[in-house]
């Protein structure tokens, strides 16, 4: 801070952190930033040592209001349990021209369906996804893992200990969701209605395929995901 003696306002610091961040920032993280800055830098930063959650939340609201009032094509959105600075979608067409991204690549319907099943049913095994879709999903799962939209969350206690899949932070960011619970009809879709132990459903047959190759890939991507998340948290 070379601007001699100029002490920035709380909202200015919050705005700067949000601008510089590579991932949504939570209120808790911002509070932590103020405390750590006070410890490590001292000086004027020490003045913010006592900043709490309410003040940070209020500062975010100020930034939000100021951006809206200024009308400069930027806004604050609540995404993936945090806040992010993003451009106004109304200005999207021009940004797309600038970035030369005229036809944004989107996920295919089968990929979106698979994601929807995972989002609502997580943690969920491949066999369970296939039982709903009625068709194999290995390739799609592999792609979704590569895109870090899903991750392996663990292993089921079922025979063969199949992998369990769940959605990631990136999933929330990609769709601009704050929480999984923001998806419509979560309560209805989350639990399997009328637990019929699929005796001859085609899910049972598909489940017998050894998930080895998918698992190997899954493990790799999961590690990457963890790594990516580690960066976010750190």
């Amino acid at each position: 801070m070379s601007e001699a003696g100029a002490i920035p306002e709380l909202k200015a610091i919050v705005g700067a952190v949000l601008f510089a961040s590579r991932a949504p920032v939570t209120v808790d993280r911002l509070v932590q930033v103020f405390h750590q800055a006070a410890e490590r830098i001292g000086g004027i930063a020490a003045g913010f040592a006592q900043v709490g959650r309410e003040e940070v939340a209020a500062a975010i609201e100020q930034v939000r209001a100021d951006l809206a009032a200024a009308g400069i094509g930027l806004r604050i959105a609540e995404v993936a349990h945090g806040y992010r600075l993003e451009s106004d979608p109304a200005c999207g067409p021009w940004v797309r021209v600038h970035l030369d991204r005229m036809r944004p690549q989107r996920l295919s319907p089968p990929a979106l369906e698979t994601l929807a099943i995972i989002a609502y049913r997580q943690p969920v095994t491949r066999a369970e996804i296939e039982a709903v879709r009625g068709v194999a999903v290995d390739q799609i799962l592999r792609n979704l893992l590569d895109l870090q939209l899903i991750r392996v969350t663990g292993r089921s206690d079922l025979p063969g200990r199949p992998w369990l899949f769940g959605t990631t932070q990136r999933f929330l960011e990609h769709f601009g969701l704050n929480r999984i619970e923001d998806l419509p009809g979560v309560d209805e879709l989350r639990r399997r209605e009328a637990q019929v132990a699929a005796p001859d459903g085609c899910g049972a047959g598909l489940a017998e395929k050894p998930p080895a190759e998918v698992a190997a890939l899954a493990a790799g991507s999961a590690a990457e995901t963890r790594e990516a998340m580690g960066h976010d948290a750190g």
């Binding site: 979608p89 940004v95 979106l112 994601l115 929807a116 209805e188």
Partner: protein
Amino acid sequence: MPLAERDYQVRLEVFEGPLDLLLYLIRREELNIYDIPIERITAQYLDYLDMMQMLDLSIAGEFLVMAATLMMIKSRMLLPPEKRAATVEDEEEADPRWDLVRRLVEYKKFKDAARFLEQLERRQSDVFTRHEVVEPGAEVPVGPPTLADVSIFDLLGAFQAALKRIGAHEDLREIFAERFTVGEKIDELLERLREQGEVSVTRLFERMRSRHEIVVTFLAMLELIRLQQIEAVQRGTFGEIVIRPTADAGVSVGAASDE
């Protein structure tokens, strides 16, 4: 009709499953999902299966499993209820269709949820951040990149209509006339689209007089869609399907297919 002299292997993987096909047929025929006329739907399902096999599309084995399931349900429907209930404990399952209906209804809910995700994604495509964004780039194709607007079943429907029109009136002279190759049809199709901008699929097959030519043309169309040279769009639900060059088309695939 086996396509014996296959010059060009069209590898369009069908990512949609048998449940998609059933939902498509139910929607097209405006049927009540809770009271499916099983005989009719089975016949139509098998028609589609025949077409996909004739075109040698790489369909999943699940399609055959579903065909067997449908035929089993059909045969059980022929039994008087007292007899068929003997094999099932649950009173509710006395209707052999019940399990299938339950699966269809459940799957439909997730398809609707997927449509919601699609809307969110569309909205987000106009939002930019400094964050690392998920970009399904060229290296990571997620499913079929191309049939997003029209399902494979819609295309097959148009194909079926064209074959039906030919029906028994297939011109015998045409049968023995010159054979077409998928490669040639690809060039022809690209040429026509260059001149006319877009062509409705119905018009595309209009003047063809042999099944062979229709099959080969259809395969050429699928291949061009797969290569992202053309795209198919539908005007409204079950409306006319139109094919047109994609924005980033222009690479000549014709040259490659001449070999």
